[in-house]
């Protein structure tokens, strides 16, 4: 991995920016197309031309309150949902990329490390205590961070952090928080707060509104921007500990910085759409296959790819049948096989080294 990332960094500098630019262009086009298709697709039939015309009107006059039903469907139901899916997908992908860099481990992601579950518990706890609004979001962030810190401490044995211990610690912490959410469900009032709690465990964008976009976007965008700002650091952090230190990185402090950013991103996502698994592991790998290990190109690619992928998956979930298909079903069907492949390859490579 060490030699890989340096090599990747060298190729990009040597060849200049042509290759990443082509790839960015392709990915951006992919995102744009998936967003447009998604805005035209849905259970309510609106012709693509009409949908795009409505969208154009909405862009030209953003303050206008739509009155016709097809306008409302496109501008008040689909647009916020597509946007939320895009920023959440981007956030999860970039958070996964960051975590994999910091842990020097390709098998970690926000849900595998239990951060999503911790965040979900924060939300459920807030509802049980009768807390809503911004303090609720605060609890979501905080518990997400608590989960991540717990994994960090659990996995660190004699000053070393092994891949296996990280994954197992994530499993432990994730299960713990899932159990705590179930416990809250158990003691919750079955008719009023229970449905609200169930929401946290079942990832879905079906409740998307512009208000939710406003709740999630600041954390997701700021977090993504911060990780981008840390791209050089991430490259160094993914080096060997001693090597990184010798290059003047204060590894401990910067690792915590990345953790806080990741918790912010995941908290924002979980607060509006519940736990969404697998995106944080599948997308970083797909992006790495495309552009290599250098975080300077990897992060933007993961953002674009994650957003496009999430939009496509959610479009399928909401428009393939009269019934909403649970998001987790589709992401797991795609994600689990990819994870299995990675797991095998990771250990084969380690054996060969």
């Amino acid at each position: 991995m060490t030699s890989d990332s340096t090599a990747a960094a060298e190729t990009t500098t040597v060849r200049g920016l042509t290759r990443p630019v082509t790839i960015y262009g392709g990915l951006a086009a992919l995102l744009l197309v998936s967003v447009l298709v998604s805005l035209c697709a849905g259970r309510f039939s609106v012709g693509p031309e009409r949908a795009l015309a409505i969208l154009w009107q909405g862009v030209l006059h953003p303050g206008l309150v739509p009155s016709a039903i097809d306008e409302r469907v496109v501008l008040l139901v689909r647009a916020p949902r597509v946007l939320l899916a895009a920023v959440a997908g981007a956030g999860l992908a970039v958070a996964g990329t960051g975590l994999q860099g910091v842990f020097r481990n390709p098998l970690v992601s926000p849900d595998i490390l239990g951060i999503s579950q911790g965040a979900a518990f924060g939300g459920a706890l807030a509802i049980t205590l009768g807390i809503w609004g911004l303090p609720l979001i605060g609890m979501v962030f905080l518990l997400g961070l608590v989960a991540l810190v717990s994994v960090g401490f659990l996995a660190r044995i004699n000053g070393r952090t092994e891949t296996v211990t990280v994954i197992l610690a994530g499993l432990v912490v994730g299960s713990m928080f899932t159990a705590l959410v179930s416990l809250l469900q158990f003691i919750a009032d079955p008719e009023s707060s229970l449905p609200a709690i169930v929401f946290w465990l079942m990832g879905s964008f079906s409740t998307a509104t512009w208000q939710r976009v406003l709740i999630a976007a600041p954390g997701l965008l700021a977090g993504t921007a911060l990780l981008w700002a840390l791209r050089f650091r991430l490259n160094l952090l993914s080096l060997d500990e001693a090597e990184a230190r010798s290059l003047g990185v204060r590894t401990e402090r910067e690792r915590w910085l990345v953790f806080a950013v990741v918790a912010t991103i995941v908290g924002s996502q979980v607060a509006v759409s519940g736990i969404i698994s697998w995106i944080g592991i599948v997308i970083p790998h797909a992006a790495r296959l495309l552009v290599g290990h250098d975080h300077r190109v990897l992060l933007p690619s993961a953002v674009l790819l994650g957003a496009a992928f999430m939009v496509v998956i959610d479009t399928l979930a909401r428009s393939a049948s009269s019934a909403e298909i649970p998001l987790g079903v589709i992401t797991a069907l795609v994600g689990a096989p990819v994870f299995a492949l990675l797991l095998r390859r990771h250990y084969r490579e380690r054996k060969e080294q």
Binding site: F44, R72, P190, E191, E324
Partner: protein
């Protein structure tokens, strides 16, 4: 219905047998339940636990009191507390609900503590929720959800099991009479005269609707001369608002299960408020009487009449308030006040809805 002219009738196809045992006149009761199991009781059940939600109020109605009911589903208890039954029978609100989870899984210890001689449970939902009852040596009577026929059968079984067979005849006759009365007027309605009705079993956290198969709501939507807007679904599934806009139903019925749900949920929604139902003020929350009127229960004919009056005011002219007063007298020996009826029909929240005028107190 009223107290007069009720014909006691034996329901055809009902597998209930009453056997008189010899000796001191002790009555042994043999019932074949809806899972085809033989249930034997040494005499009328005196302590009954009901796990299916509508059965708690069902037992109260069949018995005419709360004396035999010793345990129920937590969601039966909330219906009693929120609805009129808690007012009619204050003692019912104190009956334990710890005998089962809302998922119908019995709590054996709590069940044993309630010491029932009969436990009513859902059949057709697997043995996992039945075995704990029988393993504890308790008598389980399994009933099945779905059709009107099944409902009449299991109500008859339960009346027999608690030794009140004389009370079921009039109730079945009433169901039969109202059903026929409605059907004679709607049976020949062409599809074009059947407005679409969407019933939402959940609305607040996720929205669910159901197809036709095994769906009691679809049964009476069809009976009153309408069609189920969500007929193309299979089973009960989560849907989105876009799908509702696409169906664009003429009527929307909101469930009585979610206390915080009322018609403003539709009228304040940017999408749903543009459906035909909302535009014509035809959005109604299903009433909560002695039980929630959505699933089959002892008051079902009232829910049919309520919906028939709303869907086809030109065909039906049921005097719902009078029918309710008469039914509550028979079922619970209770005189409904006008305020009680207003509460059951959610007059304060939906009194201004289309067609609700005729339900107003005169």
């Amino acid at each position: 219905m009223g107290g007069r002219g009720m014909v006691r009738r034996v329901v055809s196809g009902c597998a209930v047998a009453l056997l008189m045992a010899g000796g001191a006149g002790a009555q042994q009761i043999d019932i074949k339940d809806q899972a085809g199991r033989d249930v034997k009781l040494d005499g009328p059940a005196r302590r009954v636990v009901t796990i299916p939600m509508p059965m708690a109020s069902g037992v109260i109605a069949l018995d005419g009191g709360t004396g035999r009911l010793v345990g129920m589903n937590p969601l039966s208890l909330t219906a009693i507390r929120e609805g009129i039954l808690g007012k009619i029978f204050p003692a019912a609100a104190k009956i334990t609900d710890s005998v089962t989870g809302t998922n119908f899984m019995p709590n054996v210890e709590a069940l044993a503590a309630a010491n029932p001689d009969l436990v009513i449970q859902w059949g057709g939902r697997g043995n996992d929720i039945v075995d704990p009852i029988t393993n504890a040596g308790l008598n389980a009577l399994l009933i099945q959800y779905g059709t009107e026929e099944l409902t009449r059968q299991y109500m008859t079984m339960v009346a027999t099991a608690i030794g009140r067979p004389e009370r079921i005849g009039p109730l079945v006759e009433w169901r039969d009479r109202v059903e026929k009365e409605i059907e004679t007027k709607t049976a020949k309605l062409p599809a074009s005269d059947r407005p679409s009705v969407l019933y939402l079993g959940n609305a607040l956290s996720s929205i669910t609707a159901s197809g036709d198969k095994g769906n009691y709501n679809a049964f009476y939507i069809d009976m009153v001369g309408a069609r189920n807007a969500s007929a193309d679904l299979s089973g009960t599934v989560t849907i989105n608002k876009e799908q509702i806009a696409q169906w664009n139903p003429d009527f929307i019925l909101l469930n009585a299960f979610e206390p915080q749900l009322d018609v403003s949920w539709v009228y304040n929604d940017p999408i749903l408020s543009l459906t035909k139902a909302a535009q014509n003020h035809r959005v109604y929350k299903v009433p909560l009487g002695g039980y929630r009127w959505d699933p089959p229960n002892q008051e079902s004919p009232l829910s049919w009449m309520w919906l028939a009056d709303l869907v086809h005011p030109e065909l039906f002219d049921f005097d719902l308030r009078a029918e309710m007063k008469s039914a509550y007298e028979t079922l619970y020996n209770y005189q409904l006040s006008d305020a009680d009826i207003d509460g059951i029909l959610w007059m304060d929240k939906q009194g201004s809805a289309a067609g609700y005028d005729r339900f107003k107190a005169k």
